[in-house]
């Protein structure tokens, strides 16, 4: 088994915020089964703030822990704050990730950012 931190194991074995928010404000999907990991983040935005966030993840231990961590980090943050959540931060919050699993930390933040973008696109459309 890769040498996962306690924090990773905690999030892997008790993942937080699983699922899809109903009637999501934004949806972000990344990855595919070929590369081994896939994540779908859904967010509910209210007053420029992420009121709720959930995810579905197909992937390894790190991918699951990363999704869970990202969801916790994002919840309650303003969109601007959430956009600043970086891959590096996620990995740090998880107490580090094994070298060959670092790419998983990218996926989580990417999926979240995509969901925010999706929301912002929709806002533009409805505003325009």
């Amino acid at each position: 088994m890769p040498e996962y931190s306690e924090k990773v194991m905690d999030h892997f074995s008790k993942p937080r915020n699983i699922g899809e928010v109903s009637d999501p404000s934004g949806v972000g999907e990344v990855g595919n089964p070929v590369c081994g990991d896939m994540m779908k983040f859904t967010i509910k935005v209210k007053d420029d703030r992420i009121e709720d966030v959930k995810y579905l993840t197909f992937g390894c231990g790190a991918a699951i822990a990363v999704s869970s961590m990202v969801s916790e980090m994002a919840k309650g943050k303003t969109l601007e704050e959430a956009k600043k959540i970086s891959n590096k931060q996620v990995a740090e919050e998880l107490g580090g990730l094994p070298g060959n699993k670092m790419h998983c930390s990218n996926l989580g933040a990417d999926a979240l950012h995509k969901a925010i973008e999706d929301y912002e696109e929709k806002q533009k459309v409805s505003a325009g």
């Binding site: 088994m1 892997f12 074995s13 993942p15 699983i18 699922g19 899809e20 999907e29 595919n32 089964p33 070929v34 590369c35 081994g36 990991d37 896939m38 994540m39 779908k40 995810y55 579905l56 993840t57 197909f58 992937g59 390894c60 231990g61 790190a62 991918a63 699951i64 060959n100 699993k101």
Partner: protein, 395 residues
């Protein structure tokens, strides 16, 4: 917590009888078989006895057995040794797409050196079609290397038919029998092979024990040059304890071959039934019947293998997976890809290999745990949710 090992292909405990036989060669009979004095006599005799037992396991002349330290080494000696000896002229090598890396990676290197390589495809069960081999053979073909059985999915190859095609054209035929030896009847004459790779640790012998059978008249160059041990085919002080353990394991395997394979096949089938009866969306990989008795290989749809493996481990169950995340090279198994398995099923694959401590009483627990884990991971899988939606809209 229970500990249930279902990954005995990765490693198995040494048979006590095997270890007992080895011990004195560590401490008392530590002599060197090449010695000019009698401290070498007992080790030398023990080595030749081991050679006999290993030869008997595959119906070979013991003079044809060359000891190596692993199946990988034996495969390298077979392929590179034969090619370097260069008896047959040509530049074309044929193997199957599902060979072990210790064959495939050599072929990659040989390609860089200018050799041409054909990797035969396999059917959805993992078997090579003899017609494909027939078509692939050219007058430049100097070696055909096709495994006896696949270590991952367990599928047994039609070696007899394949080797006959090579023999017709006087092309040397190598088979990597590392996964098969000790678990099914093998006879180098019936199989019609010129070179055959063995791994002692795959049938409860010690790690560091391998061998290559070399048919009389087949010329090889040594990979490891130096002293004239192993008739000049493999230099280095003989690892007598490993060789003795290897021989003893071969003897035990031969004497218990039928019993062992029957017992494991029954247990394996019981496990398969149990899993398939209670867990939806499982997929069997490899041939349904024509497979190694101790091997079961399934894909759990919609989920990824490392996550399964970690959850199973939390329940005390140890398995391996062909998913890219569990491989050190971060690629999913080339064997599963060769079957034409979808990426998703390859990622969710589990290899279950039975061993000495496997027992029917554990099957309900394994089934229950895998069932719960599959449900839990599917519940968070975007692929599963998508599937459910599609089902709903189809309904």
């Amino acid at each position: 917590m229970k500990t249930i090992n279902l990954d005995y292909a990765a490693g198995a405990p040494l048979d006590r009888a095997v270890l007992d036989k080895m011990i004195s060669f560590f401490t008392e009979d530590y002599g060197n078989p090449s010695s000019g004095h009698s401290l070498g006599d007992k080790p030398r005799k023990a080595m030749e006895e081991a050679r006999q037992n290993i030869a008997l396991l595959i119906g070979a002349d013991s003079k044809g057995i060359v000891f190596t330290a692993s199946a990988s080494e034996a495969n390298n000696l077979a392929v590179k040794g034969l090619i370097k000896a260069g008896k047959k002229k040509g530049d074309h090598i044929i193997a199957s797409a599902v060979e072990h890396f210790s064959v495939l990676n050599q072929l990659k290197s040989l390609q860089k050196e200018g050799y041409k390589v054909t990797l035969l495809p396999v059917d959805s069960y993992g078997a090579v079609n003899p017609e494909q081999l027939e078509k692939a053979i050219t007058d430049q073909t100097i070696l055909v290397s096709i495994q006896t059985a696949n270590p991952e999915i367990g599928t047994i190859q039609p070696v007899e038919k394949l080797s006959a095609l090579a023999r017709d054209k006087e092309i040397p035929f190598h088979t990597d029998a590392s996964a098969a030896a000790g678990w099914m009847e093998l006879d180098v004459e019936k199989m019609g092979v010129d070179l055959l790779t063995l791994a002692g640790d795959q049938f409860y012998g010690p790690k560091g024990s391998g061998a290559l059978y070399v048919r009389r008249g087949v010329r090889l160059m040594p990979l490891i040059e130096g002293g004239i041990q192993e008739r000049g085919l493999r230099a280095g002080t003989e690892n007598i304890p490993a060789i003795v353990g290897f021989g003893e394991a071969a003897k035990v395997a031969r004497e218990n071959l039928e019993e062992r394979s029957k017992k494991f096949a029954a247990l394996r089938d019981e496990l398969k039934e149990s899993l398939f009866n209670s867990i939806p969306h499982l997929h069997l990989n490899g041939h349904p019947e024509n497979r190694l008795s101790r091997n079961l290989h399934v894909s759990v749809s919609f989920v990824e293998g490392e996550a399964l493996l970690m959850r199973l481990q939390m329940a005390g169950i140890y398995v391996s997976s062909g998913s890219s995340c569990t491989s050190q090279a971060l690629k999913s198994s080339h064997v599963l890809t060769a079957l034409g398995l979808s990426p998703e099923l390859a990622q969710g694959s589990l290899q279950l290999t039975l061993g000495p401590e496997s027992k029917a009483e554990d099957i309900p627990y394994i089934t229950e745990q895998l069932g719960e884990i599959a449900a839990l991971l599917r519940n968070m899988s975007p692929l599963y949710h998508q599937y459910l939606k599609e089902e709903n809209s189809n309904a």
